[in-house]
């Protein structure tokens, strides 16, 4: 995989990506803002949602056991997966036992995380993504670039080309036509699916049920028509009661797209009951750890309160500049910058927490008020302690720290640095800075330090 810097440079050079990102994040951000300004008691609701999640996380194990109990009482088979591979294997085994051929997927970030599709395909099953964006991603062998709007990085022309090529349909870049192509193609798939795999937006503990929200209806299709329903969900995606679910449903769709609710909000409570004509006969829930328990043990524990709304992506100026693929893994934007190093370790992912100005816009829009800047700072501290740092940077910081506590030495050293910079300046500005500062002058001038410091001015003034 190319390095983070390379990925950033690639993104910066893609004009259509920049245009697409600007339009999409601007629109989604504006929709979110409008939806919240019309929500009564929005602060109280967000505070309450945060409190629910944090309370849950403080005793997650006990809540999970209770959830398992209630699921089993509803006739659901419960599986525990420590790793991505374990989760995939559980699902492959279910498919094998059922002699399945065709597996339908509704949107599930957890399944992206485990690369479930690859595992199923390698085991000989046919996998069909049913969310329009994910379907197009699958057609193109691509990866999603936004947790809510997976093909935000593709123009309609690119989508048209893809469908024309892969589905042998007449070329059209009209979104309505393209959606119709998908509807027609996938309708047949829905009717013949052997297994439906979904994620879960929320697991409701006391109810022993799961909640899935979609706009397209594929979530309903996939949980209604095939005889088997498998849910792959992170262990943290719980809420205690339906009253809590109500609280979260008030803010999930609003945060993601500005809607009050998505078109379909479905609670699934076990397999079909006697007399039901639709619904799975057999239902499984796979509880996925895959590094979440390790995140819970540390300074970024509260990131597990994330409800995957995408609001932070839409407001983040870094995401706006580089898009989702540059983050290199399943989760993008501010949430990705915290979760990816948490799930996969800092050694290979430490650029992510540093790729931020700590502006705090993410925390401001987060429906559960996650303290993302604080967590980014913790990750930076951990990166310095646990991984290799640039020797020049380390040296510069150490020197700086030591002179900062010795005012006289500080004044001498800064006078030297000022002199060096002033020598390089013309008319008070430096156009080519040396060393660590070279990146600065690639795109902007650098004001040369003053001839006389404020303290020197002040001392003179105090004498007169």
């Amino acid at each position: 995989m190319p390095t983070f810097s390379e990925r950033v440079r690639t993104a910066a050079g893609q004009y259509t990506l920049q245009v697409a990102l600007g339009r999409a994040t601007g629109q989604l951000g504006a929709q979110r803002a409008a939806a919240f300004s019309s929500l009564d008691h929005s602060d109280l609701i967000r505070d309450g949602a945060r409190a629910v999640k944090m309370t849950l996380l403080r005793d997650l194990g006990r809540h999970l056991s209770r959830f398992e109990e209630r699921l089993i009482a509803n006739g659901v088979h419960v599986h525990w997966a420590e790793t991505a591979d374990a989760a995939n294997q559980i699902i492959v085994d279910i498919a094998t036992r059922r002699h399945a051929k065709r597996i339908l997927k509704a949107k599930s970030m957890a399944s992206e995380e485990t690369h479930l599709n690859d595992a199923l395909e390698q085991a000989g099953f046919q996998v069909v993504e049913t969310d329009l964006g994910e379907y197009i991603v699958q057609l193109g062998g691509d990866r999603p670039s936004h947790i809510i709007a997976p093909i935000i990085h593709l123009t309609r022309e690119k989508v048209a080309e893809l469908m024309h090529r892969e589905l042998q349909v007449p070329y059209s870049d009209d979104p309505q036509t393209l959606a119709r192509y998908a509807r027609e193609k996938l309708r047949g798939e829905f009717l013949q699916g052997d297994i439906g795999v979904t994620g879960a937006n929320f697991g409701i503990i006391e109810d022993g049920s799961i909640c899935i929200v979609t706009n397209e209806g594929n979530g309903r299709m996939v949980t209604t028509l095939p005889p088997v329903h498998v849910v792959l969900m992170g262990i943290e995606k719980l809420v205690p009661t339906l009253a809590d679910l109500d609280l979260f449903l008030k803010i999930l769709a609003r945060s993601a797209t500005g809607q009050k609710l998505t078109a379909y909000t479905t609670l699934v409570r076990g397999p079909r009951r006697a007399g039901d004509e639709c619904g799975a006969e057999e239902m499984h829930v796979v509880l996925l750890d895959n590094g979440r328990s390790r995140i819970l043990a540390g300074e970024t524990a509260e990131i597990l309160g994330c409800i995957r709304c995408g609001a932070c992506l839409n407001i983040c100026p870094i995401y706006r500049s580089i898009g989702g693929h540059a983050y290199g893994d399943t989760y993008q934007g501010p949430i990705g910058a915290v979760v990816t190093p948490g799930l996969k370790g800092l050694r290979d992912w430490k650029e992510l927490p540093f790729a931020s100005t700590l502006c705090g816009a993410c925390q401001e829009v987060c429906p559960v008020r996650l303290e993302i800047p604080r967590m980014l700072l913790s990750l930076r501290r951990a990166a310095v302690q646990e991984t290799a740092t640039s020797p020049q940077l380390k040296f510069a910081i150490k020197v700086f720290a030591r002179i900062a506590s010795r005012p006289r030495v500080y004044r001498v050293v800064t006078r030297m640095v000022r002199a060096i910079m002033r020598r390089r300046a013309t008319q008070g500005w430096v156009t080519e800075a040396p060393g660590l500062a070279a990146g600065w002058t690639k795109v902007r001038d650098l004001k040369a330090p003053a001839a006389v410091t404020f303290q020197e001015i002040w001392r003179r003034r105090s004498k007169t």
Partner: protein
């Protein structure tokens, strides 16, 4: 009444006029300004870079210098003010004796515009200046300290100042301290967006309360040969009072 100025390292070295302007404004309000000369730097660059033990060296010195004074501490920088008011709490989280000093100092600190606006309580600072001004709210000031309207109110109260709206006003300018050199492409991309808002706004001046943002944006404007004048809030208020 005496107030103490924590001028910040950036202002001391690069923008001394900002501190002088802040002093003159404060004196005009009737304050006597003291400058503890042993101050150096609050340690934010080291802290943001993840070097917390090193940041603590600078922090302990800063706390000692400021702790040797009593009364209000005024800081002409949103990010340094946030460092002292909120981040030291985290930095010295595990050192109870220093935490006490942190609390004692933090509650005396105020960012410059916050301090002036609080003191005036709606009264006008006075002054006149004919200018079309765009105000850039720096992130630590806006979100870290929750200071949203005081700088704008202070600007609007100057006779002759027309405050223009910046498109996507609250979006970060892309400075972010060391971020500007460690992530230069992203920083440049963010700067481009902010500067195009500034240029579209028709402003002839760009004002902010943070010298880091000003250094970054002024550098970008100069590279574009723009004539927009870049000033700290203290400087424009001081100019208006002249």
């Amino acid at each position: 009444m005496v107030v103490h100025l924590f001028h910040t390292c950036l202002v001391n070295e690069i923008y001394p006029d900002v501190a002088m302007a802040a002093v003159r404004v404060l004196e005009r309000l009737g304050f006597e300004v003291n400058v503890p000369l042993a101050q150096t730097c609050c340690g934010q660059p080291a802290y943001n870079a993840g070097f917390h033990p090193d940041a603590r060296l600078a922090g302990r010195h800063t706390l000692a210098v400021l702790g040797a004074t009593t009364g209000p501490i005024v800081i002409p920088s949103g990010s340094c003010a946030d460092m002292l008011i909120h981040q030291y709490e985290i930095l010295f989280h595990d050192e109870p004796e220093w935490l006490e000093k942190v609390h004692a100092v933090a509650k005396r600190c105020q960012e410059f515009s916050q301090f002036v606006a609080d003191f005036l309580s709606g009264a006008s600072l006075g002054g006149r200046l004919s200018a079309r001004v765009a105000y850039h709210p720096s992130c630590h000031l806006l979100r870290g300290l929750g200071v949203r309207t005081p700088p704008k109110m202070l600007l609007q109260a100057v006779n002759g100042v027309e405050l223009v709206t910046l498109r996507d006003e609250e979006e970060c300018c892309g400075f972010g301290g060391l971020f500007s050199v460690s992530n230069p492409e992203i920083s440049a991309s963010m700067m481009d967006r902010k500067l195009s808002s500034v240029l579209q706004s028709g402003a002839d001046r760009l004002v902010s309360c943070d010298s880091g943002c000003l250094l970054h944006l002024a550098g970008g404007l100069r590279r574009r040969a723009s004539s927009v004048k870049v000033q700290h809030l203290a400087e424009i208020l001081d100019e208006a009072l002249d």
